[in-house]
């Protein structure tokens, strides 16, 4: 290799296809979802959905879960259609504005609250349902983007230490699935050889041996895990464990009180958001404290490099900007139902920040 080729080689190493840390994708997607939850402007919501779609199209891998995004798009469509239909069927009669379709009204008996079915369909009815439905659909589609982009197996590997056992359980469950299929095949083969046919009891004859077999294997697996030092407990002092417990309980109390105060607007406002934040912080601290007992090393941990930081950062920025900027522009945040929705440059730019991953995330295949 000549010296002239060296820098190029290094550049190529950096662009090697790899999968982004699944946590980064989830933070980005949840950021977009949070931004979508802050507005009912159909243009902004369409932009958010389009961004999610572009990033998924450019950066998804060949794994089976990557195809899930299409399902979420359909789901979003179903939500919007359902929402508008519910409005038209149940609440059409009370709408105001231009009448689009004059349907006859069908009064129902008193025990269903005197609800009227159908009635004149107005522009307001349809638009209100459409905007609200689009908001929910956009949130769903953002989560769908995370499903399609983040590798669930790697996500399980990078669970926080406090969830070590629960995460291991799910890993065991996912790993055991092929064995279950194999077990079903063997049991059925044995049944055919014995000549037992179909019937009311065939299901029990199939399920019980499969379950028995699986439980048998699980005990072998447990012995293997014990032999490899799985059960090694960390050395935490009783005091440290008390701290963990206190933090977890304090966190849950804070969250419960906070949620109640948010719902009951006659409660003192100090108890609402500040209490929620404090509770969540205490719970998080308890979580970290509970994780200290787990001492394990990880084989080839997923790296958290600059692209991860940029992808996660863009999601956080979009969410933060949406919650800070949009309340100052009420006409953009919640457009009136009587006029066409508008956009401002600031709103446009803030949402476009969400496209950053399409540029900075590494490709997953060459």
């Amino acid at each position: 290799m000549t010296t002239a080729e060296l820098p190029r080689a290094r550049v190529r190493v950096r662009q090697l296809p790899r999968e982004l840390h699944p946590g980064a994708w989830w933070i980005w997607a949840l950021g977009l979802a949070a931004a979508a939850s802050a507005t009912t402007n159909p243009l902004l919501l369409l932009l958010v959905v389009a961004e999610a779609g572009v990033v998924v199209a450019l950066r998804r891998s060949d794994h089976p879960w990557s195809r899930a995004f299409r399902l979420y798009l359909w789901l979003g469509l179903v939500v919007v259609v359902l929402r508008v239909l519910f409005r038209v069927v149940l609440g059409g009669a009370t709408g105001t504005g231009t009448v689009l379709l004059d349907l006859p009204e069908i009064p129902l008996p008193h025990w269903v609250l005197g609800i009227r079915l159908l009635g004149p369909v107005t522009a307001d009815t349809v638009l209100a349902g459409l905007y609200d439905g689009m908001r929910l659909a956009a949130i769903l589609i953002c989560v769908g983007a995370a499903n399609a982009l983040a590798n669930p197996k790697r996500l399980l590997k990078s669970l926080p230490p406090a969830l070590y056992e629960v995460g291991t359980t799910v890993v065991v469950a996912v790993a055991i699935l092929p064995q279950l299929a194999d077990s079903v095949r063997r049991v059925r083969q044995a049944q055919r050889l014995r000549g037992s046919g179909h019937g009311r009891r065939s299901l029990r004859r199939l399920l019980v041996p499969v379950l028995e077999d699986a439980l048998e294997r699980s005990l072998a697996l447990a012995a293997g895990m014990d032999a490899r030092g799985y059960g090694r407990a960390g050395d935490l002092t009783p005091r440290q464990r008390r701290v963990t417990g206190t933090l977890l309980i304090a966190g849950l109390v804070g969250i419960s009180v906070g949620v109640y105060a948010v719902l009951d607007q006659s409660a003192p406002r100090v108890l609402a958001v500040p209490m929620l934040v404090l509770g969540a912080l205490a719970a998080a601290a308890g979580f970290v404290s509970a994780g200290r007992r787990v001492q394990r090393t990880r084989y080839r941990p997923d790296p958290w490099r600059v692209p991860e930081l940029l992808v996660a950062g863009s999601g956080v920025l979009v969410a933060a900007a949406a919650f800070v900027l949009l309340p100052h522009q009420p006409a953009v945040q919640d457009p009136a139902l009587t006029a066409a929705p508008t956009l401002t440059l600031a709103a446009l730019l803030l949402v476009l920040l969400g496209l950053v991953p399409a540029l900075v995330a590494p490709r997953t295949s060459s």
Binding site: V174, L211, A222, G245, S266
Partner: protein
């Protein structure tokens, strides 16, 4: 059913012991979770007709609550055998849940959860409810805002199965579990509907009566009535009843055999364990 009578008392110690502290955490988390399920019935606005937008942050807060409980329940470490059995049953539940997808109204998710919760205890049932739904969502790329709600609701089902009276055995036990399975099926449907109602139907805006949707500031009874009609129309008659019937049938037909299998595994795990 004499085998059942013999093994009915075999498992006395639950697989995942609920210490007083864990019970406290679980209780608090259940209160917080229930608040987030039932929020439309609790909202209290200062001015009647104030606009209320659905609290989307619950969708982030609920997972935190669920994770805190899981961290607490596994705080002392989970025994390798318990963990392996938990993993196997999670896989079975995930497969059973995958079977439902094609058959509307026929759901096999809960019968194994109820039986396992009964045999291995409340803490085990709670964790199994969470991991089953999580694993099946991971496998089908179906992680969505509904997942934490489903996890918590099915965790409660597993928990409740573990809290049923221990002394009942034999045919009476099967009858009790069938009754519990039917109630659990309807309660699960009701809770899931309650969590999605304000999101799917929207929150009524002042001067815009939304028919069946949630009206903030209305008396509890009126909102309950609206929700009742909504849930009756959309699912109680169809999906929930289908789920209840499958639960009951599965427990009657497969229950005794599976209870015996699970108890045998529990006994063997105990026998193999080193003296402590």
């Amino acid at each position: 059913m004499s085998a059942l009578d013999l093994t009915g008392r075999a498992v006395t110690r639950p697989a995942l012991a609920l210490r007083p502290r864990s019970a406290a955490v679980l209780g608090l988390a259940s209160v917080a979770g229930l608040l987030m399920f039932c929020w439309p019935l609790l909202v209290h606005v200062r001015v009647h007709g104030d606009t209320v937008s659905p609290p989307f942050f619950f969708l982030v807060l609920l997972p935190v609550v669920v994770l805190v409980v899981l961290a607490e329940l596994s705080e002392g470490g989970i025994d390798a055998k318990v963990l392996a059995v938990l993993g196997v049953l999670t896989a079975c539940n995930a497969v059973l849940r995958g079977l439902d997808a094609g058959l509307a109204g026929i759901e096999f998710v809960f019968f194994l959860l109820v039986l396992a919760g009964r045999v291995y205890g409340a803490g085990f049932g709670f964790v199994l409810g969470c991991t089953s739904l999580f694993a099946s969502a991971l496998l089908t790329a179906g992680v969505g805002p509904w997942l934490p709600y489903q996890m918590l609701a099915s965790a409660w089902i597993g928990l409740g199965a573990g809290l049923l009276p221990r002394r009942v055995t034999g045919r009476a036990e099967i009858a009790m579990l069938v009754a519990y399975g039917v109630v659990a099926a309807y309660v699960f449907g009701l809770l899931m509907n309650l969590s999605s109602w304000p999101f799917l139907l929207g929150v009524a805006v002042p001067g815009h009566d939304g028919g069946l949707s949630f009206v903030p500031g209305d008396p509890l009874v009126d909102n309950l009535h609206r929700f009742g009609v909504y849930t009756l129309l959309t699912s109680t008659g169809s999906f929930d009843t289908g789920r209840a019937i499958t639960n009951a049938l599965a427990i009657v037909v497969l229950g005794p055999a599976i209870l015996t299998t699970l108890r045998r595994a529990a006994r063997r795990a105990r026998l193999d364990s080193p003296a402590q």
